[in-house]
């Protein structure tokens, strides 16, 4: 489709992610985050969290599964081989802790062409098992050769 045809009403299946404590520790190690609240349950509880708390950017781990079907949507026709991640924004609310179940839904925010490149902007909203919003994401993917 022509990327100028925005706005696009598309819906995708919700992605549900169960947060495990070892996954939080693994992610914290990968990004070099050594703060006790992300690695030690007692330290996290002492700081007022329900359980081991995930670093804010852990949201990519639990939210990305909702973006896959959007990026692969044949109606959008994204040329994955020429796609790069152009920009990213997250707005956090309720912290995510081990034991949480987070549900994320994605939608198409904007599609446009600029400078010969296609810009595909997606929004995601994640909520925990209590219905509290944990993060909203804005994902900008750029496809060259449009």
């Amino acid at each position: 489709m022509a990327p100028d045809d925005a706005p696009i009403e598309r819906s995708y299946p919700a992605f549900v992610y169960e947060v495990g404590s070892e996954k939080v520790r693994e992610y914290a190690r990968a990004i070099g985050e050594e703060a006790p609240v992300h690695n030690d349950r007692d330290a996290a509880r002492a700081a007022g969290f329900r359980d081991l708390v995930a670093p804010p950017m852990f949201c990519v781990v639990y939210a990305i599964g909702a973006l896959g079907p959007a990026i692969a949507d044949p109606e959008l026709g994204i040329d994955y081989a020429h796609m790069v991640h152009g920009g990213q924004e997250f707005a956090w609310e309720e912290p995510v802790c081990a034991g949480d179940t987070v549900t994320t839904t994605a939608s198409v925010l904007d599609v446009h062409v600029k400078g010969g490149m296609g810009f595909f902007v997606f929004a995601s909203v994640s909520t925990n098992q209590d219905g509290a919003q944990t993060v909203r994401g804005t994902w900008t993917n750029i496809v060259r050769r449009h």
């Binding site: 190690r29 070099g32 700081a47 007022g48 670093p55 950017m57 599964g65 152009g86 924004e89 912290p95």
Partner: protein, 134 residues
């Protein structure tokens, strides 16, 4: 959170080792071969396997959270643009400054950039911090 407009953000330095992209791939679930397979990466015109952009953003988030005293609840918003490409085995430096602080000092906005050898890999970083959890 004792920040004043114009203050520098404490610098964060990290050197991803040769296998960091593999560990980050496992931790994040992003196994795109451009990040973990040097041969594949070269076959599509890259100098070798490159860092995940969201790994660089995670370092920027760490620097912003550290500036707020280390409480992960303080980081309420972070927006970045990805430019250039990060590579393993080269030091990343995250620098920034405090753009504004509201009169009560409870909310601050930081500007942040992550670079390797002087070349930005994450730029336009804008972080919003609040003093206390809601």
């Amino acid at each position: 959170m004792d920040l004043r407009a114009g203050d520098p953000v404490p610098e964060l330095r990290a050197t991803p080792d040769r296998y960091l992209p593999h560990r980050y791939a496992g931790a994040s679930g992003d196994f795109n071969p451009i990040h973990i397979d040097p041969d594949f990466a070269r076959s599509v015109g890259l100098p070798g396997n490159i860092l995940h952009g969201l790994y660089g953003m995670a370092l920027v988030a760490r620097a912003a959270t550290a500036a707020a005293g280390g409480d992960p609840r303080a980081l309420r918003r972070l927006g970045v643009q990805f430019r250039g490409m990060g590579v393993p085995e080269q030091e990343i430096t995250v620098v920034g400054s405090v753009r504004e602080v509201d009169p009560e000092g409870g909310r601050a906005v930081l500007d942040l950039t992550a670079s390797q050898a002087g070349t930005p890999i994450v730029r336009g970083g804008e972080a919003e911090l609040v003093r206390e959890a809601p």
